[in-house]
């Protein structure tokens, strides 16, 4: 679903067809959202096996019901500082790409929100270039902003994406 499609003029904001469901995620102090249909499951991180030499964004691999899942460190991917107490107690969002299972490690998983398209805005132009590539756009919530994550982009290693990787101040 492209940002352009989301932006298309809507006649009725109340119609359910013009709303989307998002799972909210907390990474550092920022609120993110992933479309419900994009994710397979959500699980608490139990055991993680690091893969030496795989780079900071790969937190490691883990066993999820007999399947080997590659864990992506969302903080590292977004250029955010590491958690002081390591990966312990993190949550993972299970997604699938090309038949491979990935888990995106986040600080916490929140509610499922149904959001009207009218609250949607494209990325602000002054958003960090690297975040521009992984964000599909922003929803204005009451009191906070929700960044919609592009799962496919998150799974593409940072050095492979076109945008330059710059540290972000928060």
């Amino acid at each position: 679903m492209s940002a352009a499609a989301l932006k298309a003029p809507q006649t009725s904001v109340l119609a359910s067809a013009d709303t989307r469901e998002f799972v909210t995620l907390h990474i550092a102090d920022q609120l993110f959202g992933v479309q419900v249909g994009d994710i397979h499951d959500v699980f608490a991180l139990q055991q993680l096996t690091p893969v030496p030499g795989a780079g900071a964004e790969i937190a490691g691999i883990l066993n999820l019901r007999g399947r080997i899942v590659t864990a992506i460190d969302a903080r590292a991917r977004l250029g955010l500082p590491k958690r002081p107490n390591g990966y312990a107690g993190m949550m993972a969002v299970g997604v699938e790409r090309d038949g491979e299972a990935f888990g995106i490690l986040v600080d916490a998983v929140g509610d499922v929100l149904r959001l009207e398209d009218s609250r949607f805005e494209p990325n602000p132009v002054n958003l960090d270039a690297m975040w521009q590539t992984v964000s599909k756009g922003i929803y204005r919530l009451d009191g906070s902003l929700l960044i919609t994550l592009d799962i496919a982009r998150i799974l593409t290693p940072r050095n492979a994406s076109a945008a330059p990787a710059e540290p972000v101040d928060h």
Binding site: T49, P52, G53, A54, G66, T70, E100, A101
Partner: protein, 904 residues
């Protein structure tokens, strides 16, 4: 493609394999009624199904073939080699059409009238001549050019010659057509000309598989040809989709893991009511796992099905008589492995046919049966399957392989001569070495055995060869039973566990602490002394981080180390780990694409306790340990022949052992040292940035062995004194330890200047110092031979780099200009530029080539002095003979001979 057609394709492909083999059987025994009936029935079935499915081309070809087979069956005709060839051609045509059908879903356009005509005429009893076997067998010959078409009704009639062709003769038109097809893409040509099929079938898949063996296997799975079973058990089998089996396997794996977890839980509670039922569950699960694993197993015979036909065709093409004997067809192995070895096996069989076996005349001449035998044998050995491919042909040509290996730069001349025959034979597995003198359509393009080796190593197997000149060669392929489960050693390092495939683990050695094995350090490179060999070591932690571990502080404090001795491509090396846990049968899971770039690991696995661990890739560890693949001198398993050869070439050398700039011992050959002195450091003078001492009435420069080693300024300083043209130089050392006489075998060559390498002396790893390097440093400015007399130029031919480095400074020190080379041809090249006063040539390794020096005009009659390490060597035609270790007689002989020459 609809299901009916897919089913038909799978079934027919299986039938055709059987028909192929049965026809070959029939050819050797035309009276075998049962085989004939079987063939007839199968071809008839194919024909019938084709008619039902509306595939006219297939139907007509099959019908014509069936008619001919019918005549055989009725006894109206006797199957001959030529008629069988015709039927085989029709089978080939059917295969081609099937291949197209599989790709496009419809029958390809094409004209089979020539083939059908030939079959029909054969059925009517005319003498047929199967089209010429080389270079392009008829089934795929492009359609005859229009001009020839008028006469091409009768394939034996040749318009150009105006007569019937003799058996085996090729018509001009057919040849021309073949050439046209070969030269450019003829739009008229059949979709798959034979050369292309052959190339694609043999080489292209290799390339693909090299890139991604698993993906390739998956493609083959989709074809669904896997269910092939031997004809007799057909009734007791059902066809199951491979995907279903795969799912079943995954589920069982998970069941096993869950059971393990349960067992763990129950084990912790002392008295549990679950104990008994869990035990039963455990047993049933194990059995279930075994059974499911068995569904993946297939007899190796399924991979051999195509071989009789291939051998028959090859024999026909090459004009040889070949029998294929197969043993152990029932040996079972994983179907995935089976698919992966099919092509390498085919290639090896072709190789054996082409250049393993001799032509009948040559065989008869050497007293062998005209019919060569290729033997295939498969059997279980441990967790592996061994496949032997042997022929009773001429064997490998050791001399030619050695020559080729030297010329292609795979090995130095000196190394090559020290190798045993078997080590030389192994070069056939190196890239770019084809010994076939001529490239045939079958093999000899130089991409043969190395591709086979690569493919076999990809699936964790090994290949070796044993060959006896005149008696044939045997190839041994050792492959794991299955790729899905491997036995692995679980080791720990840096608080993490890793699995190392057991296949590459040779042994485990406890090092440090009270262990008899000690890890020694040479300039930060760690080695382990293991049964008098030096084993290079690499720390697991270094492999993982890619950075050298800082050992400066800790030293050898870590005393609970284990060394996993691993072997990769004939090279041994040790991997240092912190802990060794267990061996486990692990299920290999491929790495996700996100971490696939980490070359250190080949996969991951889930252990019984549910934790995930990484599987270490032995090849990348070998690379990290700096063990290159091409060098073929294995430390452990040196053949007796090589040992004997080496013994003959080496002798004991006296070495001065000393310490300098560190605790580790260093050594120089005693023969180079003029004197050992203890000089008062207070008398040292520093001038011109050097340290000097007034010694015996002249100034002697003193240089340290190690650039960082300080020369003392008080007390006694031990000095090794070397002489050079009446000038002396001193090498400052910390302490002289000993003088030993031992066999000098430099094990590892150093890349630091001033060090020749490392050798075991008195049981301790010792650096051998390059005296020449230090002499040049000390005497650099004094080195002006022009002052004395016109320099006498000596060419030293010595294959052994150690003796070369030992002798040249000696000769230089005596005032000669020395050109040290390793081969006779290089010496002759030197002589072209400057006539030597004398030539010193080693005669131990290759006396024949040394003799060439005596007669070559380029040397302009310069005297050739033989150089030998052996006490029994004879001077023969040489101007003189000196022993390598006898320094004084070497110098006096050279002096005498060269003076005699300048006087003359």
């Amino acid at each position: 493609m609809d299901d009916l057609l897919a089913e038909f394709l799978t079934e027919t492909n299986e039938f055709l394999e059987t028909v192929d083999n049965d026809l070959v059987k029939l050819e050797s025994d035309p009276t075998d009624k049962e085989t004939l009936n079987n063939i007839f029935r199968l071809v008839h079935t194919i024909k019938g199904t084709c008619g039902f499915l509306g595939l006219p081309r297939l139907q007509f070809v099959a019908h014509a073939g069936e008619t001919l087979l019918g005549k055989f069956r009725d006894g109206a005709l006797v199957a001959t080699s030529d008629t069988v060839q015709l039927v085989l051609e029709s089978i080939d045509r059917i295969k081609e059409i099937l291949a197209d059908l599989e790709q496009t879903g419809s029958e390809p356009e094409g004209d089979d009238s020539a083939l059908i005509g030939a079959l029909e005429r054969a059925a009517e009893g005319e003498t047929v001549v199967a089209s010429a076997p080389v270079p392009a067998p008829a089934p795929v010959k492009p359609p005859e050019p229009v001009v020839a078409a008028a006469t091409s009704d009768d394939p034996t009639w040749d318009a150009d010659l105006g007569r019937h062709l003799k058996p085996g003769e090729v018509s001009l038109a057919a040849l021309e057509a073949a050439f046209m097809a070969a030269e450019f893409e003829d739009p008229l040509a059949e979709p798959a000309p034979v050369d292309a099929t052959m190339t694609a079938g043999v080489e292209a898949p290799f390339e693909e598989r090299r890139a991604n063996p698993i993906a390739r296997a998956a493609v083959i799975d989709d074809d669904g040809d896997g269910g092939a079973k031997g004809g007799r058990v057909a009734d007791q089998t059902i066809r199951v989709n491979v995907d279903v089996l795969e799912t079943l396997r995954t589920m069982v794996s998970e069941l096993v893991l869950t059971r393990n977890q349960l067992l763990q839980m129950v084990r912790n509670s002392t008295d549990s009511e679950f104990k008994a039922p869990l035990q039963r569950l455990s047993a049933v699960t194990s059995e279930l796992q075994d059974s499911v694993m068995k569904t993946r197993m297939q007899p190796i015979g399924t991979a051999w099905k195509k071989l009789p036909r291939i051998v028959r065709d090859a024999a026909r093409d090459l004009g040889k008589k070949i029998d294929l004997v197969m043993d152990g067809e029932a040996t079972e192995l994983d179907r995935q492995v089976l698919e992966l070895i099919k092509d390498p096996l085919t290639h090896m069989i072709r190789n054996s046919c082409d250049h393993g076996l001799e032509v009948p005349a040559a065989r008869a001449a050497s007293g062998k049966n005209e019919t060569g035998i290729i033997r295939l044998n498969a059997y279980h050995e441990g967790g592996h399957i061994v496949i032997e491919v042997s022929d009773d042909g001429a064997g490998l040509n050791t001399a030619r392989i050695r020559d080729k290996a030297i010329r292609n730069g795979l090995v130095s001349e000196e190394q090559a001569w020290q190798m045993s025959d078997q080590q030389v034979h192994r070069f056939i597995f190196a890239a770019g070495l084809s010994t076939a003198q001529q490239v045939t359509s079958l093999s000899g393009r130089g991409v043969g055995m190395d591709v086979v080796r690569t493919n076999i190593e990809l699936i964790g197997g090994t290949i070796d060869v044993q060959s006896h000149e005149g008696r044939g060669s045997t190839f041994y392929i050792k492959i794991p039973l299955t790729l899905a489960i491997v036995s692995a050693l679980v080791v720990g390092t840096a608080d993490q566990r890793f699995a190392i495939p057991q296949l590459s683990v040779v042994e485990l050695v406890g090092a440090g602490g009270t262990s008899e094995h000690r890890v020694e350090t040479i300039n930060n490179a760690r080695v382990l002394r293991l049964r008098d060999r030096l084993l290079p070591l690499i720390d697991m932690a270094e492999i993982l981080t890619g950075e050298p571990k800082d050992r400066s502080g800790a030293g050898e404090a870590a005393n609970s180390e284990f060394v996993v001795v691993m072997q990769h491509a004939d090279k041994l090396f040790g991997v240092v780990v912190d802990a060794v846990f267990d061996t486990e049968e692990i299920v290999v899971k491929p790495l996700s694409s996100a971490v696939a770039h980490v070359k250190t690991f080949s996969g991951a696995t889930i252990l019984g306790d549910g934790s995930v661990i990484m599987i270490v890739d032995p090849a990348s560890v070998a690379k990290a340990a700096g063990v290159s693949e091409q060098r073929v001198d294995e430390p452990e398993a040196i053949d007796a022949a090589a040992v004997a050869k080496r013994k003959a070439a080496e002798e004991k050398t006296s070495m001065v052992l000393f310490k300098a700039g560190g605790e580790e011992p260093r050594a120089v050959p005693l023969s180079l040292v003029t004197r050992l002195e203890d000089l008062d450091a207070a008398t040292f003078e520093r001038a011109d940035g050097r340290v000097m001492v007034q010694y015996r009435g002249s100034l002697m420069p003193i240089v340290p062995v190690d650039p960082y080693q300080a020369i003392r300024d008080q007390g006694d300083q031990p000095i090794l004194v070397f002489s050079h043209m009446g000038l002396s130089a001193g090498l400052a050392v910390d302490a002289i330890i000993d003088i030993v006489e031992e066999k000098l075998d430099i094990e590892m060559s150093a890349d630091r200047p001033g060090v020749l390498g490392v050798a075991v002396l008195k049981g301790v790893a010792t650096e051998i110092i390059d005296v020449g390097h230090h002499l040049t440093q000390a005497l650099g400015d004094w080195d002006d031979p022009g002052l004395e007399e016109p320099a006498r130029h000596i060419v030293l031919v010595e294959r052994n780099p150690f003796f070369r480095n030992l002798l040249s400074p000696l000769l230089r020190a005596a005032g000669y200009e020395v050109e040290a080379v390793d081969t006779v041809s290089a010496a002759l090249l030197c002589a072209e530029y400057r006539k030597p006063t004398a030539v010193l040539a080693d005669i131990d390794v290759d006396v024949e080539s040394a003799r060439k020096l005596l007669v070559d005009s380029r040397l302009a009659g310069a005297p050739v002095v033989a150089l030998s390490g052996s006490r029994d060597a004879q001077a023969g035609d040489f101007a003189g003979l000196v022993r390598k270790s006898d320094r004084s007689s070497l110098l006096s002989t050279i002096d005498y001979i060269s003076r005699a020459r300048s006087a003359a």
